[in-house]
Amino acid sequence: MRLLHYWRAMMGIVGRELLRFLHQRERFISALVRPLVWLFVFAAGFRAALGVAISPPYETYILYEVYITPGLIGMILLFNGMQSSLSMVYDREMGSMRMLMVCPLPRWFLLGSKLIAGTAVGVLQSYAFLGIAWAYDIQAPLMGYVWILPALVLVGMMLGALGLLLSSLIRQLENFAGVMNFVIFPLFFMSTALYPLWKIKESSEILHTLAHYNPFSQAVELIRFALYEQFNLDALIFTALSFFVFMSAAIFGYNPSKGMMVRKGGGAP
């Protein structure tokens, strides 16, 4: 009976997120426009300047557009994770977060369900992007589109957990923009999304080390390898570990006796 309660609650939370997503078509379109601009404009422009040599998982020389496609999927999931956390800060300000928190289920489960709901939306967006990229002649092996699913789910959960953690730290919506600049831009630009590690190493050792240990780099590599039907164990372990750390910290942040909400005084979830 208790299991049924958990199942119904999770379906309710995921269903609500999908309904909201369907009602907000502009959110879907803007989530796609951003990576498509990078693909059609940025990548096309830099094709000549940024040649990419053969490196795994690629078995031949590739166009720059092909190289950045996994990075742009990472971008979709990154923005989706941040959007979810933004909506949690909004929910908290608007009070609907309170409704979730006063229902008779453990916090970890409620936050986990929120995360699954956000990830489901991110995965849908990623496949829509891959569909457009396919039409643009960026085509991976067919089975790669199946292999990529668990990678998308794990990366979506990891970035969503980071978003959850941020939402537990941020009291007001206005503070969010600043944090976005301090989180999204460093994560994205200091990663392998736009350029391979060896290329970064050529310019700076420090930057190379930072990019290597950037959880977003590992997430992008996990996606990149999966899309070409390959398994990257290091990236998987690193991404899973990052998920665990971010999620644990987010659960702590939303704990009614230990979390940041109490310490800040008055900012009830």
Binding site: L4, R20, M94, G95, M101, C103, P104, P269
Partner: protein
């Protein structure tokens, strides 16, 4: 002896050095409407956050239907219905979608949920508007939907945090009457936070909170007698030193 719907014992809470609640104790029984009266900043919202387990109490104890909110929080919360001061409905979803979401969070299946939704909305004359987006409803109707939602899982205790703020007089009156009818007909226990004196009925119990401390508690008659006041308004002014809300 009837089990208490809400028992608060020696509850204290502080935000850092600032004390928000100081040794607060009172009970709410089934079939009783208790009005929590206090000006802004009295500690009402903090008290509600503690009862709903949004915060943990560090000193004192809160029990809902005998379940300790800290140790048995899930059992306690299952018996609690809440209407917060701010509306907490999703404006982009319909009335039914909002209520189904709440039912799912309480583990109620679709069929049972739809039956209860119909029952609660009909009682509040809102069933005809079930398909409308919440955004299209006025403030009074949104409040009705929130009350219907808070009752969907059949709670023993209903918490209302200033639910009539910003509503016109007929909407306020309708909500006051509806809640008092629920107390009588369904033996529901209600804790209603307000600073609006005219929402108090003659047979309500009163808890007057000011600067985190209880200044008076008991049936309205008893409080009038012990404070020497003529009406609830005078009680409020006397015990809160004429504090404007």
């Amino acid at each position: 002896m009837t089990e208490l719907a809400l028992a608060i014992e020696n509850l204290s809470f502080a935000y850092g050095a600032k004390k928000a609640l100081d040794d607060v104790s009172f009970d709410v029984r089934p079939g009783e409407c208790t009005i929590l009266l206090g000006p802004n900043g009295a500690g009402k919202s903090t008290l509600f956050s503690l009862i709903t387990h949004l915060y943990d109490s560090r000193q004192g104890r809160i029990a809902l239907c005998g379940f300790d909110i800290k140790k048995q929080s899930l059992k306690a919360l299952a018996r609690l219905g809440v209407v917060f001061q701010q509306t907490t409905l999703d404006p982009d979803l319909s009335v039914t979608q909002n209520l189904r979401y709440h039912a799912a969070l309480h583990g109620i299946g679709r069929k049972a949920a739809d039956n209860r939704i119909q029952e609660e909305l009909e009682r509040l004359n809102m069933f005809e508007r079930r398909g409308e987006k919440v955004r299209q409803l006025n403030g009074g109707h949104r409040r009705r939907v929130e009350i219907a939602r808070a009752l969907l899982h059949r709670p023993s205790l209903l918490l209302l945090d200033e639910p009539t703020v910003g509503l016109d007089v007929p909407s306020r009156q309708a909500i006051v009457e509806h809640v008092h009818a629920l107390v009588k007909e369904q033996n529901l226990a209600v804790l209603w936070a307000t600073h609006l004196i005219d929402e108090i009925a003659a047979d309500d119990s009163l808890v007057v909170l000011h600067r985190g401390q209880i200044k008076a508690k008991g049936k309205l008659d008893y409080v009038l007698q012990t404070t020497g006041a003529n009406d609830a308004g005078e009680v409020f002014n006397k015990l809160t030193e004429g504090h404007k809300g």
